[in-house]
């Protein structure tokens, strides 16, 4: 029974949503089910928040390695919760938006959270360099082709690339590096991406059918189909 009910719900909802694509009066079903999901997800947040607190309180009480950071996490959690819940410093009354300009919640978000997020994002610049170094080493034929294509595209996106081949007449404009870069992106790259997208589309159809028909049950913690 524990497995049959979820399987029936999956089958019923899946079939209904497929039909809704072709039956106009049922078209809103997709949006409605998304709303149902959002409502469930809101309740699930308590599970997540609760788990976060449990993990860090446990770490703190057992004085596990780096337990000091748990104090920061717990304090941050309750501080932001209080700022948002009681709308501390909000220019309007309690009914005003939690993200209103000047509120404590918004101030912390803008001045602490956003810069911290940007710092993590900025790491990407360094990681792109290290990953590119490894990927573009000309160790075999494929990697050499990749290196040449990447070099043309990098050069084509800079003013230096334009400057290098500006002397090529318009009748041979395809040989100009920026145009060559566009050609690589629009022909080889786009064709490859579309092939991957077709595969993904088919994969989604196949996986969805496996789920709807109950052939795939691993997500329910059941291996026996």
């Amino acid at each position: 029974m524990k497995r049959q009910v979820p399987l029936f719900i999956t089958f019923f909802v899946g079939t209904l949503l497929i039909l809704s694509v072709f039956i106009p009066p049922m078209e809103n079903l997709g949006e409605n089910f998304t709303l149902f999901f959002d409502i469930i997800a809101v309740f699930a947040f308590f599970l997540g928040g609760g788990n976060l607190l449990r993990v860090h309180f446990k770490k703190l009480s057992k004085k596990k390695r780096d337990w000091q950071y748990s104090i920061v996490t717990i304090c941050g959690f309750f501080f932001m919760l209080a700022a948002g819940l009681f709308k501390i410093g909000n220019p309007g009354d309690i009914a005003s938006s939690v993200t209103a300009e000047g509120s404590l919640f918004q101030t912390i978000y803008t001045n602490m959270f956003v810069p911290l997020g940007s710092t993590m994002y900025a790491l990407l610049g360094f990681f792109v360099a290290s990953a590119s170094y490894r990927a573009f080493r000309a160790k075999n034929r494929e990697a050499t082709i990749l290196l040449i294509a990447a070099f043309i595209i990098l050069l084509g996106r800079t003013p230096f690339g334009t400057m290098l081949t500006v002397w090529i007449p318009d009748s041979m404009s395809i040989a100009q590096i920026p145009n060559l870069a566009i050609w690589i992106m629009n022909s080889f790259n786009l064709a490859g991406q579309r092939a991957i997208l077709i595969g993904i589309g088919l994969g989604v159809v196949s996986m969805s059918l496996r789920l709807i028909l109950g052939v795939e049950r691993t997500y329910l913690g059941d291996d026996s189909a």
């Binding site: 694509v21 072709f22 039956i23 106009p24 009066p25 998304t34 999901f37 997800a41 699930a44 947040f45 308590f46 599970l47 997540g48 928040g49 788990n51 976060l52 993990v55 390695r65 780096d66 959270f113 911290l116 997020g117 940007s118 993590m120 994002y121 790491l123 990407l124 990681f127 792109v128 290290s130 990953a131 590119s132 490894r134 990927a135 991406q193 991957i196 997208l197 077709i198 595969g199 993904i200 088919l202 994969g203 989604v204 159809v205 196949s206 996986m207 969805s208 059918l209 496996r210 789920l211 028909l213 052939v215 795939e216 691993t218 997500y219 329910l220 913690g221 059941d222 291996d223 189909a225």
Partner: protein, 365 residues
């Protein structure tokens, strides 16, 4: 022009109105006086708005994206070098929503063929016929990756992306987790799974718990294997990077929906020397995984993974059905390229018509 008729387009979502008229007697193929037809729409008795300008010879028009609860009326202005002549206004009308949207008949047909092929091969496999499925290197390496972590006595880190359970990629990741957790339980290796969504945490716990029970080690399971971190993208990345650097897992699985964080996670995993198996259905992130990970499941391979790892004939049958779709796509692409080249390039009308028909069938309408 005369006899302007506005009618609701049949078998649609109630969003189209068809207009038809008899062209002006001055609208002649040669030396005609008409220069254009301008279509005007009046919504809910408001001011007329020009919605289209058609070339001489036109005698119909389809007004799309209309709303069900509005009334519409139309008139057509015949333009010439002389005075502009306006037709009578049509009576105000509303669109109607039918029970079947025949505008999507080709989509239905394609879905039927694909779905039919998948179900046919599942049934064929159920009857015991052996089906060949090509080797997927990334999935062949799963055993080796888990074995490595066991030998080294280090944990396995499983990252299911940053989307919720309503994303099919997360669902695919959870199904793979079921297979991985089964082996982890057998080898008695440690698994660690920080997640960015509460529902994913609940689903992952259930999946791992069931895998441990099936493997006969229910006592070895602990809720601490899966923990919620934060919904925030870069907060999550910071936490996962921290776990990687502190705990130095021997194996990292990055399977699911990833965005800008893909390379940050994969490069950190690479820097600690972990064997990394990644997979996503987001083409923009695939190059990052290919550059930084040992094995990458490209697009469809992520969705095929669970079926492949299970080795069950029924599940493998669904992959075979998928191949039928690929074969159809390849044939249609070849015919389409040929039709466009011969039709548009060489002016062969039959091929141009064929290209248009294929476009109509496969453009989602």
């Amino acid at each position: 022009m005369t006899s302007l008729i506005a009618s609701d387009h049949k078998y649609d979502d109630g969003d189209k109105i068809d207009l038809a008229w008899v062209p002006s007697i001055d609208d002649l193929p040669r030396d005609g006086l008409v220069t254009a037809y301008k279509i005007y729409r009046i919504t809910n008795d408001g001011a007329p708005v020009e919605i289209a300008e058609l070339t001489p010879g036109a005698n119909s028009f389809r007004d799309e994206d209309r709303e069900l609860d509005s009334t519409y009326s139309y008139y057509v202005a015949t333009m010439s070098d002389g005075p502009t002549v306006e037709s009578n206004r049509t009576a105000p009308m509303q669109t109607e929503r039918e029970w079947l949207n025949l505008d999507r008949k080709f989509m239905f047909l394609v879905a039927l063929i694909l779905g039919g092929a998948i179900i046919y091969f599942i049934e064929t496999a159920r009857r015991g016929k052996k089906l060949f499925v090509r080797r997927i290197a990334g999935l062949e390496a799963v055993d080796e990756a888990i074995g490595r972590a066991t030998e080294m006595g280090r944990p396995i880190l499983f990252i299911p992306g940053i989307h919720d359970m309503d994303d099919v990629q997360t669902l695919a990741a959870i199904t793979i987790l079921g297979r991985v957790a089964g082996q982890v339980a057998e080898y008695e290796t440690k698994i660690r799974m920080p997640v960015a969504r509460s529902l994913v945490m609940t689903a992952a716990r259930e999946t791992i718990k069931a895998a441990y029970q099936t493997a006969g080690h229910p006592d070895a399971y602990s809720d601490e294997m899966v923990n919620y971190v934060t919904d925030e993208q870069f907060g999550y990345v910071a936490a996962v990077d921290g776990i990687m650097v502190r705990e130095k897992p021997a194996t990292v699985f990055l399977l699911g929906a990833f965005f800008a964080e893909s390379l940050i996670l994969a490069e950190t995993g690479n820097s600690i020397g972990a064997i990394q198996i990644a997979g996503t259905a987001r083409p923009a992130q695939l190059p990052f995984f290919i550059a930084a990970c040992d094995f990458t499941l490209i697009g469809e391979e992520l969705f095929a993974a669970s079926a492949y790892l299970s080795g069950e004939p029924k599940q493998l049958g669904s992959l075979k059905g998928q191949d039928v779709g690929k074969m159809i796509a390849m044939i249609v692409i070849l015919i389409g390229v040929l039709a466009v080249t011969l039709g548009d390039g060489w002016g062969i009308q039959v091929m141009a018509d064929l290209a248009n028909t294929l476009k109509m069938i496969f453009s989602g309408s």
